[in-house]
């Protein structure tokens, strides 16, 4: 395997982590990673050895993610899908998750894809604001406001969630 391919291979765990947090479902996330890898391999010439492949790969994946979100929106989202498919999409990640992980990952799915991506790029993937803005193709100010709104939204959902859960327990 040449140097460039090996460098891409080394980034797969991070790409999978980002995709998993973006999409929640393990299979969908790995499909996104696969699309990203295929796209990257097709554009290997556009990437010089010596460059860190991480930003390049995340940029490719971001474009694919945006396309995917757009397609889903056009399809009319969950309302159009049969029960079978929407159930499949709601399948939790395969490994045992703690309640806290489960909640935060669910909450993350409820915030807008733009905010989700911005927050994850910085908070989980450890990109600087400047790098993340570059990958996501937005001005740094936009990135910052997405992160701030994303965090607030996430907090609100988590707080609502714990209230709802409390009510459910009482109902039982």
């Amino acid at each position: 395997m040449d140097q460039r391919r090996a460098a891409i291979l080394a980034e797969i765990p991070r790409l999978r982590r980002y995709a998993r947090a973006l999409l929640r479902n393990r299979d969908s996330a790995d499909d996104l990673v696969q699309d990203c890898l295929e796209r990257a391999l097709g554009k290997l010439d556009g990437w010089r050895t010596g460059d860190n492949p991480r930003r390049w790969l995340f940029t490719i994946m971001h474009h694919l993610f945006v396309d995917q979100m757009r397609r889903e929106k056009r399809r009319g989202e969950a309302a159009m899908l049969p029960i079978e498919a929407s159930e499949a999409m709601a399948v939790p990640a395969h490994q045992a998750e703690s309640v806290a992980s489960h909640e935060i990952l669910d909450a993350l799915q409820a915030i807008s894809p733009d905010r989700r991506a911005a927050l994850l790029m910085v908070a989980v993937e450890g990109f600087s604001y400047a790098e993340a803005a570059n990958v996501l193709g937005v001005p740094a100010g936009t990135l910052m406001s997405r992160i701030a709104r994303g965090r607030e939204e996430l907090r609100t959902i988590l707080e609502d969630g714990s209230r709802r859960r409390a009510i459910r327990v009482i109902e039982k």
């Binding site: 499909d31 696969q34 498919a85 703690s98 992980s101 910085v122 908070a123 989980v124 988590l158």
Partner: protein, 261 residues
Amino acid sequence: MTARDFTERDIHMALDGELPAEEREAYELWLEANPDMKARSQRFASDLAALQKSVGGVLTEPVPERFERLLSGETPQRRIVSPRWRMAAAAAIFVAGGLGGYLLGVTGWGSIDAAASQLADGAIAAHTLYAAEKLHVVEVGADQKDHLVGWLSKRVGVKLIAPDLTAQGFELVGGRLLPAESKAAAQFMYQDHTGNRVSLYIISDATTKETGFRLLEEGGTRSLYWLDDGYGCAVTGTLPQEALMTIANSAYRQLLDGMKG
């Protein structure tokens, strides 16, 4: 007062490591002087930690073989349904009856590894033999479901469940233990109200490979099969491919939940 006025924006910057080091001290003082801001910062910090923790484990998961193969330039021609079709197939059927079949067909035929093809061969052979049986279609009936599932789990070495396929119109008839190479296989037999039978054939798989759904057809009997995380399963019957896919989707999820649960 501090050197500059801090705002909520600085909470995010501090959390994300974007606050200049020289402002850090003044920022901490500002937090101390503003308990509501401090509380906010703490909530965000704990959300951040939870978020990092929730997906942190992904980094240590082994890289799926399909990605390694992709990067090493081996792109084996196989009739694989990418896992996305586990989800998309139902949607595709919804859109157009024939599309599910189209999706299965486009990825092409080719060689498949031994473990997976033995699985499908075994499943088709067992289905053909027992689905035709009138009196002794199963060894243990659905009336003893708990016993059946416990027994087969133990013998096969996989924590099994008998998936509920009533949503697809199939009721569990029962199951049996079968030989599969040098190990044991479990077969769960299902039947719809017209007498159509579908079986699930499950083996343990030490390779812990993951595959998408694959299809094997033999004399009008179709088997949709996959390997996933220590087990292999084949859904076999003479139903149309789309119906089989719907069942496979459901069985896949239920088996997985059963194993993790």
